[in-house]
């Protein structure tokens, strides 16, 4: 069990929300999605690979089988699911100080949400409601979402370059090639294994892969 796989940390947080208030959150989500500038902080945070918020109605929890008794829940729940760089302990500060009002808006109607600043009550609230990742598969352990996005851009640019410039005379070809390098200059980061962000997670990984100390 580890919340870390490759360059990603998986976070699942499920928090109770009064069922008669969920319409407000749904409205907030809808507004945010239709008006992308409200999410620009989240999108600019290059440490975040992915983030999603979902409301689960109190009668909406799945049952494995009709014979499983239905639960009577007092609350609906908000599921927050995210993959990001590093670990929660390392990056809680970056979330909190970059987008405190966004976090407060999304969690505002959740039961006992403490606000994002000061930091310790927020950190504890998330940790308390976090469901640790029992199984975590990462198809590209050496890639963060920035690496994937860069690779996609370079691939597309190279194909276009090949189509447009492959048959040009040397001088023009060089010009086009230099222009390609200039256009792609922020997408050439090396892709190598992740730094070790947690000694305990690293110990788990080494035992699992039977890497000697």
């Amino acid at each position: 069990m580890s919340n870390i796989a490759g360059k990603a940390y998986a976070m699942n947080v499920i928090t109770p929300i009064r069922w008669y208030m969920t319409w407000i959150n749904k409205l907030i989500f809808k507004t945010a999605l239709s008006n992308p500038s409200t999410l620009k902080g989240l999108v600019t945070l290059s440490l975040i690979h992915y983030a999603r918020w979902v409301i689960i109605p109190r009668d909406g929890f799945p049952r494995l089988d009709p014979s499983q008794p239905k639960e009577e829940l007092n609350y609906s729940y908000m599921l927050f699911f995210s993959n990001f760089n590093g670990s929660w302990d390392q990056y809680v500060d970056s979330f909190t100080f970059a987008i405190p009002s966004g976090l407060d808006l999304f969690w505002k109607w959740n039961v006992r949400y403490p606000k994002s600043v000061p930091l310790t009550p927020f950190h504890n609230y998330i940790r308390h409601n976090q469901i640790d990742t029992a199984h975590y598969y990462n198809a590209y352990p050496m890639a963060s979402s920035n690496d994937v996005k860069s690779a996609q851009k370079i691939k597309k640019a190279l194909i276009n370059f090949n189509t447009a410039s492959a048959d040009k005379p040397p001088e023009e070809f060089l010009n086009d090639y230099n222009k390609l390098l200039n256009d792609m200059q922020h997408h050439f980061g090396d892709m190598k294994p992740t730094p070790i962000v947690s000694l305990s997670a690293d110990a788990v990984r080494k035992r699992y892969l039977q890497i000697p100390e």
Binding site: L47, F97, Q185, D190
Partner: protein, 506 residues
């Protein structure tokens, strides 16, 4: 100023970079405590000479004590606090990073290969409990204080042992101390340089409670949305004070008096591979469109000769222009030119590369990547990652073509939370670059470059210019860790409590 610090309680090295007060020489001692009671008595004796952060007066004006010939400061490892027998309940309050110590954090810090603890000076294989620093106006003043400390060790009657095992100038490997010194130019004048030739120690953070904040805060505090600078919260650098998260640092042990006005120190002996650096710079500048000095400046974010920030002096022509303005400026103007800048006008890194040392350790507002008002405040990702830097170069470069001499930097970082501040910067920003959208590209100068799989950085060109960026490839390991540990610098009150054996967290 909203905060008045008790400067008589805070150790002087926390607030003052002694080098700025003409302390050109330093000596660092590491000790082991073999007997708790004798050890406490020894600490009590040393405490009588510990230098506080009180301001010094000018000679003869009588308002404050004048600058002393030598200063003394003390700090402890976790094992040292145990050896001094502070209560278990107090020990438990210390953070995990400090309890483990630096060697065991090597995987976090990237201290691998030549930087692995197996290759450190022998002293780091000993049980290091106490750090004592002496800074002197002259080497004689340092020696005099050193002799006095040796007398106290003698008087401890076996309770305290001065550890040997530092590498020295003549190939020794068992010196009982680490000496450090400013470097001197050809005329014998002290210069604020290190062995690669860079001008060092310009932009230390400024926090609430320091004196003369208004004059120093530009470029050194926290950047606000309106472009002004405010001092950082005291609690980023001193325990027992409110920090940027509007709470007291969580890393503080109990009782309050043990933690209050104390801080944590990272001590690192960093060897500089001068020969490799000079060769690498020569080779790389052959294929670089600009002078060798310009390339050196792109590595650091400052020009080597006078520390001119590359963002305002991006090439050889820009540097000449900057130098003219610098020469014409008065003292205050010169300081402002060195520190007061952001990367707002250089959001793509065409002037100061993303990989430059300066931009990596303090990105200022640039992690918003030019997206207007992306975060609550421009420094949202930076303000919790700042460190105070102390220290001096050590050794002498006798042959600039060789790596194997005794030369480097004694680097000390002071912060309230080693994991959140120093370790984060070292790991995420120096040895990794996802936050800068540069993948695994490490910082050129300090990165733990791997000889078998060497890295590169990209020096961006002006976007849309059609010019290719410059690739700096096959970067060798330029700096190697030769030792170090994590220390707690208590307040002077806390020193007295520890020495008296009266720390009580009840």
């Amino acid at each position: 100023m909203t905060q008045q610090l008790d400067l008589s309680d805070i150790q002087g090295n926390v607030i003052k970079a002694y080098g700025r007060y003409n302390f050109q020489k330093a000596r660092y001692l590491f000790l082991r405590i073999d007997d708790g009671e004798k050890g406490r008595k020894f600490i009590g004796a040393i405490t009588t000479k510990v230098t506080s952060a009180l301001p010094w007066g000018k000679p003869g004006d009588g308002s404050a004590p004048p600058i002393p010939q030598a200063t003394t400061n003390v700090a402890f490892t976790f094992n040292g606090l145990q050896a001094l027998e502070i209560p278990t309940a107090s020990q438990r309050g210390f953070p995990e990073d400090f309890i483990m110590g630096m060697a065991k954090r090597k995987d976090i810090l990237g201290d691998d290969g030549p930087s692995d603890p197996a290759n450190w000076d022998k002293v780091w294989k000993e049980k290091v409990h106490v750090w004592i620093s002496i800074n002197g106006q002259s080497i004689d003043a340092v020696k005099k204080r050193y002799d006095w400390i040796q007398e106290q060790i003698e008087a401890s009657n076996g309770g305290v042992v001065l550890l040997t095992g530092h590498r020295g100038e003549k190939g020794e490997d068992s010196l009982p101390y680490q000496d450090a010194s400013v470097l001197y130019d050809a005329t014998g004048m002290p210069v604020p340089k290190e062995h690669f030739g860079y001008t060092d120690g310009i932009g230390d953070p400024v926090f609430e409670g320091q004196t003369n904040v208004a004059a120093r805060v530009l470029g050194r505090g926290k950047l606000m949305r309106d472009g002004t600078w405010l001092p950082l919260a005291t609690g980023e650098f001193l325990l027992g004070h409110v920090d940027e998260a509007m709470e007291y640092p969580k890393t503080a042990p109990s009782p309050w008096l043990l933690a209050h006005n104390g801080t944590f120190m990272v001590y690192r002996k960093l060897h500089e591979n001068v020969g490799t650096f000079n060769r690498f710079l020569d080779e790389q500048s052959q294929i670089f469109d600009g002078s060798k000095e310009m390339l050196a400046a792109k590595f650091a974010g400052r020009w080597r000769d006078n520390g001119a920030p590359v963002v305002h002096a991006p090439d050889d022509v820009g540097k000449a222009e900057w130098d003219r303005r610098y020469a014409a400026a008065d003292d205050a103007g010169k300081k402002k030119m060195l520190t007061d800048f952001t990367y707002n006008e250089d959001i793509h890194g065409a002037k100061c590369p993303f990989s430059a040392h300066l931009r990596r350790i303090n990105p200022r507002g640039s992690l918003e990547f030019g997206v207007s008002n992306a975060y609550d405040t421009p420094g949202a990702l930076v303000n919790r990652r700042r460190i105070l830097r102390r220290g001096l170069p050590y050794g002498e470069v006798k042959d600039p073509a060789r790596d194997d001499g005794n030369h480097g930097i004694i680097f000390m970082a002071l912060n309230a939370d080693i994991q959140r501040q120093f370790e984060f910067v070292q790991q995420q920003w120096i040895n990794y670059a996802n936050d800068f959208k540069e993948g695994n590209d490490k910082e050129v100068l300090l990165g733990n470059h791997d000889a078998n799989n060497p890295g590169k950085v990209v020096l961006a060109a002006e976007p849309g210019s059609g010019k290719p960026p410059h690739f700096v490839s096959n970067i060798p390991r330029l700096v190697e860790t030769r030792g170090g540990d994590y220390f707690f610098i208590p307040s002077i009150t806390a020193l007295k409590l520890i020495a008296g054996g009266i720390v009580d967290p009840t």
